[in-house]
């Protein structure tokens, strides 16, 4: 599609959508969002980019083959699951490290749950894009 309006808008929109997807990913634990939704948003961003600028531009903008992205996601999710075992939990159980403040009331904490969600994000992102790119090749 060769539309000047779409192309100009896309430049801003894609960046916004990608930032928004990370925002959705991070807020997911307490508010609507999460890895799955965020992955879909990120994938839509690149779908939009592909529509405006063409598939090849989208592929080179992504830099990495989307399949690799998805595979990395699976590995990260698996890693987070295994991580729990080293903290004497069952595989895939949530493990928390409280940095400041108190749990549930605020403060900053990190957990393998977030790592897992990042894995989900990458899998969804990569898989959907793989599909979109593949379908485009058929055309």
């Amino acid at each position: 599609m060769n539309s000047l309006v779409l192309q100009s808008a896309t430049r801003v929109l894609v960046a916004l959508l990608l930032v928004f997807s990370v925002y959705m990913l991070l807020r997911g634990h307490n508010h609507p969002g999460g890895g799955f939704i965020a992955g879909l948003i990120a994938a839509s961003a690149f779908a939009l980019f592909a529509m405006a600028w063409g598939m090849e531009a989208a592929q080179s903008a992504l830099r990495i083959p989307p399949g690799n992205l998805a595979a990395t996601g699976v590995l990260i999710a698996a890693f987070s699951g295994v991580l729990a075992v080293f903290f004497e939990g069952a595989p895939f159980s949530g493990q928390w490290l409280q940095l400041t403040g108190h749990k549930n009331t605020g403060g900053i904490s990190i957990s393998n749950v977030l790592i897992f969600d990042i894995g989900v994000y990458l899998v969804v992102f990569g898989s959907v894009l793989t599909l979109i790119f593949a379908l485009e090749e058929v055309k």
Binding site: H29, F36, G81, V123, L131, A134
Partner: protein
């Protein structure tokens, strides 16, 4: 050329080094043999060893091992012969490019067999039983470039796993009746099992398992086909292992399942029939390896026949014969392998006069064959005398058993002659003039095995006191004394022995005429088990093709029709089954935006159904999706709403990409399909609505959702329950799902790539 030559030299050097190193592969089984020998006196004195750990506590399943005299005997045979086979295989497969793979399979097999005979838990036993099935599949199909080998491997796998499945059900039933899967408890609950109404079912299932593994009628056909394996494998499979797994099962279950009429009759008749059929088949063979394979079936039939009884002498005969058979059969297969390797053929009609050039092999062949034929002073003789004594002691049908035993043994004598005399005597063959003696690596193993047959024959106390008598005691549960000796005095067994020798030698002398007659006779037979097997496999494939064409013919519309139709049927059934319910339908009090969402949904659906152009239909579907997303949003599921909206968006993008290639909207047939599809869709919608209304009538009991609601913040520190469930409480499920997503993407790319390539061609 130069580089190729250099590479060859280097390969040779490596092979030489590798060969010495690969001899180390014989070390683990040899060490294990020594270890077991150390335990032997203790075990013989009646001690048992049990160790393991709880595997699945809730189901009472343990990964446990149990060593008593019976399992020790089998384990010794497996590990000792395993070591000899490893030595032999190093020489036999010298230079084979896939030697490592071979030893991997062989070790898998040894481990499987050892685990099977040492299992102290019914489930553990089954697991190792399956391991041996898989390992034997890999070993039989080792020459995987040969179609025959592949077919034989698959046949062996299918037959033995079919039996394995029956065995699993049998073991589960047995465990439930005995109240435990633990071997010692199962062995102690014989009376309860025999009195149980399930006894008959358990027996049949266990016997199918044992018979399929040990190649009893009607499963006998796979074993001779398994000859497609390399000779070291055949030597191992046929002598000490695989086929003895079924025998082990029968012996192990003897105290639990035995001592009933049905056990005795089934085993005696099946064993006798198998031995007889295999004996006739053995006479027809010109391939030495095949002839030996059939004598294995004879041996297995004889063992099964004897295990039907519970008389001391019969069981003693079975165990002694089992031991003897392992020694001589392994040696003879190795000898046939040597002949094959040195002379280039196993065809008995082409072999002759090898005795001059292969003196060591000749001696070994003679030693093993004399043991197999049961000549004194070999252990085989003692085994055979015991066999006749046992046959006459079989309570149910001594005449039948004795006749079958005499005939089977006579054929065994004949085959012994075929293997040990025919290739070595007579005029040297001119087709293979320069036959040389095999290297030591090939003959050392059969030499030791053959020598053991002689040593144990001369001094039977070596094996009797600490191996055979305790094993018989373990089977029968009472303390037994058995005497193994060469001279039993002038009695009926000795007369039967002489009769056997006479018959066997007569058959050997008239072998070619006998074979002609037999082959003529068999060529007129309508079918045999092997062909029947092929036919049934073919039928199975036909049925599979038929149902695939019916249900999965590759047309998307058809798939959806099948799925929706099935769901409709199931829902209708469920609704009818539920029976009484009163539907209360209240006019909903909705506000304007909710009505708008519903209008959007319904309008989208109607429009998608009525649309004449694909683009309009897809846009209508998009509207429908947005409508549903809005409904989710209004009724408190923002996560689901967002997901729905995004999926709708991406769906539109994807469909737009493939729209030009979609065949859905082909003109002409569409009216008929449309009305049918619309009717099915309306029906399904109606049924789902009804189901939801009925479900809403029943009070909603929600321990799970209550738990998530309560535990979300304190345990998982998250306020978004949906996300907490996804990434914490049910993280393993989610992990499975993302793998599915990933796999689906890969599969789609592969399929599309295939389409693409085909399109370009």
């Amino acid at each position: 050329m130069g580089t190729a030559g250099g590479g060859e030299n280097r390969d040779n050097g490596q092979a030489k080094l590798g060969r010495h190193l690969t001899l180390l592969t014989a070390l683990p089984p040899a060490l294990l043999t020594l270890l077991l020998l150390l335990y032997m006196p203790d075990i013989a004195a009646g001690r048992t060893i049990s160790f393991g750990f709880v595997w699945i506590a809730d189901l009472g399943i343990a990964f446990r091992f149990y060593i008593d005299a019976l399992s020790l005997l089998f384990a010794l045979l497996i590990s000792a012969i395993g070591a000899f086979v490893a030595i032999y295989a190093v020489a036999f497969l010298h230079g084979h490019p896939q030697l490592r793979r071979f030893f991997l399979y062989l070790y898998l097999f040894i481990v499987g067999m050892l685990g099977l005979v040492l299992a102290g838990d019914l489930i553990t036993l089954f697991v190792f039983w399956e391991v041996t099935s898989v390992a034997s599949y890999l070993l039989i199909g080792f020459n995987h470039t040969s179609a025959v080998a592949r077919r034989s491997a698959l046949q062996a796998l299918l037959v033995t796993t079919l039996g394995g499945l029956c065995l699993l059900v049998g073991l589960l039933l047995l465990g439930s009746v005995a109240g435990s899967y633990e071997m010692t408890q199962v062995l102690a609950s014989g009376e309860a099992v025999r009195a149980s109404p399930l006894y008959f079912a358990i027996l049949i299932l266990l016997l199918i398992g044992a018979f399929s593994k040990s190649a009893q009628l009607p499963f006998h056909f796979w074993l001779p086909n398994a000859m497609a394996a390399p000779t070291p494998v055949s030597a191992y499979l046929h002598s000490a292992t695989m086929v003895k797994a079924g025998i082990y099962l029968l012996a192990r279950m003897h105290p639990v399942m035995g001592q009933t009429d049905i056990w005795e009759w089934t085993l005696t008749c099946t064993g006798a029939a198998t031995a007889t059929v295999a004996a006739v088949a053995a006479l027809r063979q010109t391939d030495l390896k095949l002839a030996l394979a059939y004598t294995t079936v004879i041996a297995l039939g004889t063992l099964t026949m004897f295990l039907g009884s519970d008389a001391t002498i019969v069981i003693a005969a079975a165990i002694t014969f089992l031991f003897v058979h392992s020694l001589y059969k392994a040696a003879l297969f190795m000898v046939v392998g040597i002949i094959d390797k040195q002379a280039g053929t196993r065809d008995i009609n082409k072999l002759g006069g090898l005795g001059q050039s292969m003196q060591i092999t000749f001696v070994i062949a003679l030693a093993a064959a004399l043991s197999m034929a049961g000549f004194p002073p070999f252990l085989g003789f003692i085994g055979k005398e015991l066999k006749y004594e046992g046959a006459l002691a079989v309570a149910s049908e001594p005449a039948l058993v004795a006749t079958a035993a005499v005939f089977a043994n006579a054929v065994t004598v004949t085959v012994a002659g075929m293997v040990a005399l025919k290739p070595f005597l007579g005029r040297p063959n001119h087709v293979y003039p320069n036959v040389q003696e095999a290297p030591a690596g090939l003959w050392i193993s059969p030499l030791i095995l053959g020598g053991l047959g002689l040593t144990f024959g001369l001094v039977p106390e070596l094996v009797n006191d600490e191996l055979i008598t305790p094993a018989v005691t373990a089977i029968l549960g009472t303390s037994e004394t058995i005497e193994l000796k060469l001279w039993h005095g002038l009695n009926i067994p000795l007369l039967l022995s002489i009769l056997t020798f006479g018959l066997g030698i007569a058959m050997y002398l008239g072998l070619s005429r006998l074979r002609d007659w037999l082959s003529w006779d068999f060529s007129h037979a309508p079918t045999n088990a092997d062909q029947l097997w092929d036919k049934s496999l073919e039928k199975l494939r036909l049925i599979a093709a038929l149902q695939t064409n019916l249900l999965q013919n590759g047309v998307m519309r058809h798939y959806l029709t099948v799925i929706f139709f099935t769901i409709s049927l199931v829902l209708t059934y469920a609704l009818i089954r539920t029976g009484q319910y009163s539907l209360v339908f209240e006019w909903p009090h909705l506000n304007l935006k909710e009505w708008a969402a519903i209008l959007l949904t319904v309008g989208g659906a109607l429009m998608a159904g009525a649309a004449r152009k694909p683009l309009i239909a897809i846009c209508a579907l998009g509207a429908l999706g947005v409508g549903i997303a809005l409904i989710y949003l209004f009724f408190g599921a923002p996560d689901v709403a967002i997901t729905q909206l995004l999926v709708e968006t991406l769906f539109l993008v994807l469909v737009a990409a493939i729209l030009p290639r979609l065949p859905v909207f082909s003109p002409g047939r569409k009216i008929r399909f449309r009305s049918r599809d619309a009717a099915l869709g309306a029906l399904l919608g109606l049924l789902v609505t009804l189901t939801i209304l009925v479900v809403l009538q029943t009070p909603f009991d929600s321990p799970a959702s209550n738990f998530f609601k309560e535990a979300s913040v304190p345990q998982a520190h998250g306020r978004n329950i949906v996300n907490v469930i996804l990434v914490d409480f049910r993280a393993l499920d989610t992990f499975g799902e993302i793998i599915v997503v990933f796999t689906a993407a890969i599969a789609a790319v592969t399929l599309l790539g295939h389409r693409l390539r085909r399109g370009k061609q």
